[in-house]
Symmetry: C2
DNA sequence: GTGAAAGCGCTAACAG
DNA sequence: CTGTTAGCGCTTTCAC
């Protein structure tokens, strides 16, 4: 047989499986230290590994949380996941991560899959702020807590953790302006993504503060994928308008846009600065341009994990709405 | 209660849970189509979701495979995972992925964790070709199949899937030479990583074929992480040697090296071409330089998944050693 | 065609 | 301190 069970080791020692179970779960209070030792030893010798499935079934939980992210090509969410996994592990939870790939129908499927796997709770960043709202509500009604992060939703009684996109976006654009940029494109994200609309607001406010005109021709629908970002950039170029900076909603579309620019032999960042608010190690290294804020990402993962486990362990614990306000850190000066 | 069970629906209908079970698992042969329909309907109405945990415990498998990768910052492995997940799902398996982060001790921990979770099999790309060999052997001995991909190992009776690194590396360097490059650095990977040594061989062979000298000063230990690649590049620069191309073992170190080059105002690719063999969408977009081979990555994921599930379902199925030979596809000409 | 009963590996009362 | 018993949700003989 593949695995040794507590019965095997009980038989080996001629004692009952209850005692073995107690010993193996570290119940020093109810088992003599002598038998304790004996049990631990033979368990070790026989290569015992407790069957989590059985424990879960018995205890009516799985000690695992599901994570749903919209995208995995970009280091942003991957970094989040690594931090979250670490934090969750520390709190005694396994994780199972799924990638919806910006498709809310796939997201729905994964949500169902996760509840079917009886995860104790879910951490998610949504593809679309409206489309699956009732589904989220339903799983929450069944007593499975969901904590939303980054790409949050509205009108749900759930904990959420996000960045202060508006202000960070504002600072970022302000930085560009102070660098002397005057014609700043905004490669915006879709309006069904909350951080995207907030960043757009921040962009607009910065322009206003410096009395720069807000020109709709400089606001592009940049989508969420590489090719969408590239396409949008290309469309803009076709207009023949003057520009000296591009402020992007996300790393993904930024990379797409940058690629187009490079192919057209624009020098970056001399001719045009290109940036986003996100900040991961890879981002820093990849883009010879200004990037931003590393720290809140880790913090976001930690807070979200904390909130979720808290709510799993005490369903009555209050919902929180955390807005992180990391400092803008310019990763590379453009002299 | 959170979930409805077959007992609930049996009670609702005043029948036995056995019948419900049979109906729900589609046993048309042993349950009257009339009751069948009735059961399916109420199951649906009550929002029944079968408890996989219980099924697994009963059937002595989990229908999940573990995946261990060394790195998640780079799109390479993430892309692999997406393809593998898709293929595995098609074959009825869930996946649980863990990232060792180039640390073979963490890798060991995850391996243990996965067997403890009773995964039916494991897909892995190792951190170190030797360090955990006995551990791999042990889990295989317990009847849990492992299929190695990309970063393979030697001397184990396991199926493996990898690229023909030698020949692809050879082609890549040949391409650089045909472009007129004469002083090609090789930012090599560590010797405890099999593809790294193979790529080094390919590099050397290409130089030989074109009667270019093999100079050890042009072969750098580039490590596996961003900062290691950057450091190596910096060290090389300090030597003051002439160079016009860099052939990197991996995306990660390539990005690090490229960053250094850019900071020093080298024009890429005019002054120096920089490339690697890997090929993912992000890679393509990010690097204004030559990259390569997209297709084998997907193929690798599919083959590895096939091999693994095959071996799970029939432990006696023969081991295979697949070497993929994708075409070199230049993603961007450097004119 | 359907039901009763056993059991997957484990924990948790409840007795001693 | 230790053993006995029941049961988590499900599948699978074995009867009827």
């Amino acid at each position: 047989m593949k695995y040794v069970t507590i019965i095997d080791i009980a038989r080996e020692l001629g004692i009952s499986k209850s005692t073995v179970s107690r010993a193996l779960s570290g119940d020093t209070h109810n088992v003599k230290s002598e038998t304790m030792k004996k049990i631990i030893d033979t368990a070790h010798r026989m290569g015992y590994q407790r069957n989590e499935q059985a424990v879960n079934l018995r205890q009516q939980h799985t000690k695992t949380v599901g994570i749903i992210i919209p995208d995995a090509m970009t280091p942003f969410f991957m970094t989040f996941i690594q931090h979250a996994q670490k934090e969750l592990k520390k709190r005694g939870y396994q994780t199972i991560v799924t990638v919806a790939n910006e498709d809310y129908e796939a997201e729905y499927e994964y949500l169902m899959m996760l509840t079917q796997s009886r995860v104790d709770g879910i951490l998610m960043s949504v593809c679309h702020k409206d489309k699956n709202i009732e589904a989220y509500q339903q799983v929450m009604n069944r007593g499975i807590p969901i904590v939303f992060f980054d790409r949050t939703v509205e009108g749900l009684d759930a904990s959420q953790v996000r960045m202060d996109d508006e202000i960070m976006s504002y600072f970022m654009v302000e930085t560009l302006i102070r660098m002397g940029k005057r014609h700043i494109i905004h490669l915006a994200g879709p309006s069904y993504v909350i951080p995207a609309v907030n960043r757009h607001i921040g962009y607009r406010q910065a322009l206003e503060k410096f009395h720069l005109p807000y020109d709709e021709r400089y606001v592009l629908e940049g989508g969420l994928k590489f090719h969408e970002g590239a396409q949008a950039m290309q469309n803009f170029l076709a207009q023949g308008l003057e520009f000296d900076a591009v402020f992007c909603f996300t790393e993904t579309t930024m990379v797409g846009a940058k690629n187009v620019l490079q192919n057209m032999h624009y020098r970056i960042p001399e001719d045009v600065a290109i940036c986003t608010v996100s900040g991961t190690e890879l981002c820093t290294f990849v883009h010879p341009t200004i990037s931003a804020v590393e720290q809140p990402l880790k913090q976001m993962a930690i807070e979200a994990s904390r909130l979720l486990t808290q709510q799993i362990e005490d369903p009555e614990s209050p919902r929180e709405n955390i807005v992180l306000r990391g400092e803008i850190v310019l990763r590379e000066s453009t002299k």
